[in-house]
């Protein structure tokens, strides 16, 4: 059974006929070819697929596309300015070497964006708690924690 889904992704209206079981992450990756959103597990643990849905960080592997009907989705491709300038959170990851292989990075950044809205000056402990749902195998989290603390300060509570 196919079903029509329509939503806004990175500010652009999109719609497609998809199988009802199509996960949001599959729709984003395969239909929209926005391959910055990654799939690192099949149990909603790793967080590599994190996107913003109506401003909230969600794991896009955990809902089907039609649950995002009418929603406003932001993926990693929509974070930098249109001229390519990095967002302050992305810049903080770069300056603090908060990424290595880059695979978990989009999910980390998307989660951090949501977190930083309500935590403009977070403690190390707060950041570590916020990262409970995002796995990284490269960095030991050390520089991710530093990146998010710095990025949140730079954002001043606003995406």
């Amino acid at each position: 059974m196919t079903i029509k889904v329509s939503m806004k992704v990175n500010g652009k209206p999109v719609s497609a006929d998809v199988e009802a079981r199509t996960l949001l992450v599959t729709y984003i990756r395969e239909n929209l070819r926005l391959t910055g959103t990654h799939v690192g597990c099949d149990t909603a643990q790793c967080g590599a697929c994190t996107v913003l849905m109506n401003g909230r960080a969600i794991k896009s592997c955990s809902i089907v596309a039609m649950q995002a009907e009418g929603a406003d989705i932001m993926t990693i491709e929509g974070v930098a300015k249109p001229d390519g300038t990095l967002h302050p959170m992305q810049q903080a990851f770069k300056e603090n070497h908060g990424l290595q292989c880059g695979f978990c990075t989009p999910g980390m950044v998307m989660n951090a964006l949501d977190f930083a809205k309500s935590h403009p000056n977070p403690t190390e402990q707060e950041v570590r708690e916020a990262l409970e749902g995002n796995l990284c195998r490269c960095t030991g989290y050390h520089n991710i924690v530093k990146s998010i603390m710095a990025g949140a300060r730079a954002m001043g509570g606003k995406i």
Binding site: R29, D42, I76, V79, E95, Q100, C136, Y141, H142
Partner: protein, 784 residues
């Protein structure tokens, strides 16, 4: 003039694409007419395959083909080769059973590939795969290495499930030393089986061109040239010229993406059969069952000491679990990369190690970050710490009494350490960790109802395995050199082609720093290309912390040739003698004068050779080099771990972790620190949270991120790091490598700290809350 780039904290050139979602990993590659593969995997650990009924699958909507092991056998597709031949104690070759890419007649571990379905969409392939009926005759399985020798044979050629019994060292001399020892410390432990768990799952996407009769395979690999060599020469019988292997952005490897896997072979072979691109991407559940695992040793280890605590000898007996088949480099991990490291940082005069490697009905085991060296360090550093406690000596003092202090140092286990300064890393670590303040912190913890412990590990590792001819004499079936090419463009910008592969290590930055520094160019003028057999001349890839020491040196050798040719061109342009030309940070100068030509001017002259010595010099400025190291490099360091154990729950927190490493010359300290952070966290994971559990029937119980716990951010602290610099003596950069150190040194430091906190001799890894809680219960019962 440009500031020196070697040693600078340069931000990474590769970050932008990863931060904006524009990196291209294998699963991101979508080819025209793409098809998708799903594998049918064995649900049993050991069984005969009676029949495979695929009629319904073949009729399923969108299905293009179903293939089984029989189809591959008919097509004469070969088995997966092993790259290292170990010769056993009797001078006989190891048992090398066939390893078909799809099972033939029998399955030997849960998750083994039995059939593949290829369809128009992934969903169709998966749905059809579900409908395949395989009739199995289930056989008894064995999962534990210690029980393997008496279990039912897994392979006909190894009736006692033994691949080899191998030994290193002088057994008689070791026995004699033990006979006169004042003290003997003995430990018996399991080095737990781990799953590498790169966050990007493995993936392969192959396409075939009838027009050119050639294949292109995109694959998440750490070494695309090795993948091509193994696949063409040993499995598919194709010339290398007809197969291009591209390893694009790769999301972590940690060893698991070194090997040639059956999935890679099957999609490549099927791409020609179907004349369409075939893609397979592992999901995490498949990864747990099919990525090569790491470690899994059972070891009995003894250390003999004299009354002053001088080490007299070490005796180690290990049973290594190789899993159901020989993965690509499986055989050399528990031997060549393990027993040779048992001297550690110490002058132990006699060492004997015997390794029995067995087959079991489990996923194949191969190199995982550290590969043999973490297991060796765990043996040495657990023994040393335990000996100190038993002899009531300060563990630091005991280590100092036995440190190697003169170099080069020939160990009794084959390696010759070129250089080191173990006192320096130890001293720095003790200060940075504020060891003198530990007692006070312990009291503070006690007031909060927590048990605090401190543990040390002084590790050594051997990086950049080499030289090729020595490795060859020990059984290596591949070379261990690296290749590099410097292509200078007419305007003086530089493209560097390297056989090293990056999957998180930051080579695009580090290697560019080396080249830009040596040539005196801005880093923006240098780009690094890697990971594509059609672009890079050759390569052995990235593993064993070899990239900077071997790959970096190949680049430097090519650079030397560029400068040498540049001097000839400059001499002509400046009408000077070649021997008077000096190269200094971007300029060719006539010594002692102000006459000079910039690097760009010389490059331009090479490509627009109007004023050029064409009669004796070829135009162009492009050089390559192959570098085969003369020895391993030997990074070393001291790690200090402090833990706090909750007396009620057994939960252990890493209260502080200090790591002081000596990686020789460091190119980019920011990147090196990042490598240490990641390595330490994997080592802490092994010690505290990670470990495979197999049910006795051979089912992997820990088969997802929900059952197998890789560290989360709350499991680790901010690390305290420092670096000491004792340059390697046998490569031009003085570099040693840094990728694995953390994973090598951390487990022993953590367990030494927990045993200190609990006041017990040993705690098995992973020291989960449950494991520690049991020790606490025994302790409190003992008090009653």
């Amino acid at each position: 003039m440009n500031a020196p780039l070697i040693g600078a904290r340069i931000q990474r050139k590769e970050d932008y694409r990863f931060l904006t979602g524009t990196g291209v990993y294998t699963d991101d590659v979508a080819l025209p007419n793409q098809t998708y593969a799903a594998f049918v995997r064995s649900p049993h650990a050991h069984a005969k395959i009676k029949t495979i009924i695929a009629d319904a699958a073949k009729r399923h909507k969108g299905v293009l083909a179903v293939y089984t092991g029989e189809d591959l056998a008919t097509a004469k597709v070969g088995g997966l080769p092993c790259g290292w031949l170990i010769t056993d104690v009797n001078g006989k070759p190891m048992k090398e059973p066939p390893y078909p890419p799809l099972a033939q007649g029998k399955v030997r571990h849960v998750g083994e590939r039995v059939a593949v379905v290829i369809a128009e969409t992934l969903e169709q392939a998966r749905d059809a795969a579900e409908s395949i009926e395989v009739d199995y005759d289930v056989l008894p399985a064995v999962v534990e290495a210690r029980k393997a020798r008496s279990a039912q044979a897994i392979h006909d050629i190894a009736p006692d499930n033994t691949c080899y019994v191998w030994a290193l060292g002088d057994k008689n001399a070791v026995d004699a030393a033990f006979a006169k020892a004042a003290h003997v410390t003995k430990l018996e432990f399991v080095n737990n089986r781990l799953v590498p768990n790169a966050i990007e799952p493995r993936a392969a996407n192959a396409t075939y061109s009838r027009a050119e009769d050639s294949y292109t395979l995109y694959v998440a690999s750490q070494n695309p040239h090795v993948e091509r060599l193994l696949m063409t020469a040993f499995v598919l019988g194709l010339p290398e010229t007809k197969v291009r292997v591209v390893a694009p952005d790769v999301g972590g490897g940690f060893g698991s993406k070194i090997y040639l896997y059956g999935e890679d072979v099957v999609v490549t072979w099927a791409a020609k059969k179907l004349n369409r691109p075939v893609k397979w991407t592992s999901d995490r559940s498949e990864a747990y069952l099919s990525d090569a695992h790491g470690r899994d040793h059972f070891t009995v280890a003894e250390l003999a000491l004299d009354r002053d605590g001088k080490f007299l000898a070490m005796r180690v007996k290990t049973t290594a679990n190789l899993g159901a088949y020989l993965s690509t480099f499986a055989s050399c991990i528990p031997t060549i990369l393990y027993a040779t490291l048992l001297a550690g940082q110490y002058t132990t005069p006699q060492i004997y190690c015997e390794v029995t490697a067995v087959f079991t009905n489990t996923t194949p085991v191969d190199a995982y970050r550290g590969a043999g060296r973490p297991e060796a360090t765990y043996v040495v550093e657990r023994l040393v710490e335990t000996a100190a406690r038993e002899m009531k000596l300060d563990p630091i003092e005991l280590r100092r009494r036995n440190f190697i202090r003169e170099f080069p140092y020939q160990t009794p286990v084959a390696l010759c350490y070129d250089t080191g300064n173990y006192e320096a890393t130890l001293e720095s670590a003790l200060k940075l960790a504020d060891v003198s303040g530990f007692q006070k912190r312990k009291e503070d913890s006690a007031r909060r109802g927590k048990l605090r412990g401190i543990g040390y590990a002084c590790y050594i590792e051997a990086c950049g395995i080499a030289p090729s001819n020595v490795a060859g004499s020990l059984g290596a079936r591949a070379g261990l050199f690296e290749a590099g090419e410097i292509r200078v463009h007419p305007t003086g910008t530089v493209t560097v082609f390297t056989g090293s592969h990056q999957h998180g290590q930051g080579h695009e930055t580090t290697f560019a720093q080396v080249v830009a520094d040596r040539l005196g160019l801005p880093i923006e003028a240098v780009d690094i290309v890697h990971g594509d057999t059609s672009k890079v001349l050759f390569g052995m890839g990235t593993y064993g912390s070899r990239s900077i020491a071997v790959g970096g040196t190949a680049i430097v050798k090519a650079l030397d040739k560029i400068v040498a040719k540049g001097k000839k061109i400059a001499a002509h342009l400046l009408e000077a003698s070649e021997s008077d030309i000096e190269y200094d940070r971007g300029e060719f100068k006539v010594a002692g004068t102000d006459r000079k030509k910039t690097f760009g001017e010389v490059a331009f002259a090479a490509y627009v050779p109007h004023n050029y010595p064409l009669e004796k010099l070829e135009p162009g400025l492009n050089e390559n080099a192959f570098y085969d190291p003369t020895n391993f490099t030997f990074p070393a360091g001291t790690y200090v771990c402090e833990v706090e154990v909750d007396k009620d729950t057994g939960a252990t927190q890493i209260a502080a972790f200090t790591a002081v490493d000596d990686f020789g010359k460091v190119i980019n300290p920011m990147i090196v620190e990042g490598q240490v952070h990641g390595g330490l966290t994997q080592g802490i994971g092994q010690a505290l949270t990670e470990g495979c559990r197999y049910e006795s029937s051979g089912q992997l119980v820990t088969g997802s991120f929900m059952d197998y716990c890789i560290p989360r951010s709350s499991d680790v602290p901010l690390f305290k790091l420092d670096l000491c610099e004792t340059p390697c003596t046998h490569n031009p950069l003085g570099v040693k490598g840094c990728g694995e150190a953390g994973a090598i040194g951390a487990p022993a430091a953590v367990i030494n700290a927990i045993t200190d906190a609990l006041g017990v001799k040993d705690v098995s890894m992973p020291a989960t809350a449950q494991t520690v809680w049991k020790h606490l219960q025994e302790r409190s019962h003992a008090r009653i």
